[in-house]
């Protein structure tokens, strides 16, 4: 039994006790009090039953599969351009940019350089032009490899081009992983 005059814990303290949220000394004090106090033991049992009742509420069945809708609503850009593809694209652009000074100096890839420059100036680019350029490059390389001593040495690359290259890759990465994700605003269905 609790000693006469022992202060009963408040309702809030009993709740915190059950939640395990009282500081160590208070937790012990309440525990000791409850052991000797029938009224508080009963109150604690009622609270415990309430907590159990709340937590025993069974889950409702959703009753349908939302995954097709969720997949449909995913940002379309991401579906087509996963991180790996974006990195591949960045690497391709980087290689092309690195190759331009060499191609210009060798004269082997004039068509390709022209194509790439045209692509850059128009913004969107023409795939056909690029393919034609690549064909020209392949032809040029075959010719160069067949003639000993015709392959030029790599000229030094200006720092500005390296900065440009790094910057372009960073922008591509940021667009692929940030902007496209940011665009995926959820369109909630209008209800009647």
């Amino acid at each position: 039994m609790s000693e006469p005059g022992t202060k009963h814990p408040t309702e809030a303290e009993l709740q915190a006790y059950l939640d395990g949220e009282l500081q160590a000394p208070s937790q012990t004090t309440v525990a000791e009090h409850v052991l000797g106090c029938l009224a508080c033991t009963r109150r604690l049992e009622q609270l415990g039953s309430l907590f159990a009742l709340i937590e025993s509420m069974p889950d409702l069945a959703l009753g349908k599969d939302l995954s097709p809708e969720v997949l449909r609503a995913l940002p379309s850009g991401l579906k087509r351009l996963p991180l790996l593809a974006m990195l591949e694209a960045a690497a391709a652009v980087a290689l092309a940019a690195l190759g331009l000074p060499w191609l210009d100096s060798s004269g082997l890839g004039g068509d390709l350089a022209q194509a790439l420059q045209g692509w850059g100036s128009t913004g969107l680019g023409e795939l056909n032009q690029l393919v034609a350029g690549l064909n020209a490059l392949a032809g040029g390389l075959r010719q160069g490899l067949a003639t000993p001593g015709i392959l030029p040495s790599l000229p030094p690359i200006p720092a500005s081009q390296i900065w440009l290259l790094g910057g372009s890759a960073a922008v591509l990465w940021a667009v692929g992983n940030g902007l496209l994700l940011g665009r995926s605003v959820i369109r909630r269905k209008e209800r009647p």
Partner: protein, 182 residues
């Protein structure tokens, strides 16, 4: 049904294999829906929130630590989303036909204990739904998400003292609704 672990599915999704995310949705859609339902109190709203929660999770997948369990992370994200929505919305009445879904209307067709269980669950659901939004929020986070008072305070950006008083009053109201003698 894939045998892959949640962490594997997350990694595959990150590398662009979005079908793996579909598997994560199938695994957790029921529990996420229930979080949203308890907070929104309305089925269609809860379905919308569930879908939106998964889309949000997809966008935040890069920030997810795959060494921790996916389920609690997903449910917490859904709870935060639903709470934000609740704070911006005025409460609405539940349509009657939806109410009937879990009322013991077909009690005669089932054994007594099951019917009673169903009736009790319906009563708890109604009692929670009738709480003010900020009381419902603390009940959800404490009793269904297992958060500590400090975590609830952080999640709801409210002082610890408010968490305690909201929980106290919410439980008091629930006790009265579920047992008028309390």
């Amino acid at each position: 049904m894939s045998d892959a672990s949640d962490a594997e599915l997350v990694l595959r999704t990150r590398s662009g294999e979005v079908q793996s995310f579909g598997e994560l949705v199938r695994r957790y859609q029921d529990s996420v829906f229930n979080v949203c339902y308890r907070l929104a109190g309305e089925r269609r709203e809860a379905e919308d929130l569930t879908q939106e929660a998964f889309l949000r999770a997809f966008r935040r997948l890069a920030a997810y630590d795959e060494s921790r369990p996916f389920g609690p992370w997903m449910r917490r994200l859904a709870a935060n989303l639903a709470l934000n929505r609740l704070q911006r919305k005025t409460p609405t009445e539940l349509p009657l036909e939806e109410e009937q879904e879990w009322s013991p209307g077909h009690a005669g067709e089932m054994p007594e204990p099951a019917a009673m269980q169903r009736e009790r669950a319906a009563a708890v659901r109604r009692a929670i739904r009738d709480l003010p939004a900020h009381y419902r929020a603390v009940i959800e986070l404490r009793h269904y998400q297992g958060m500590s008072y400090a975590e609830i305070a952080e999640a709801l950006t409210m002082p610890l003292s408010d968490v305690k008083s909201h929980l106290y009053r919410a439980r008091k109201q629930l006790a009265q609704a579920l047992d008028p003698d309390v």
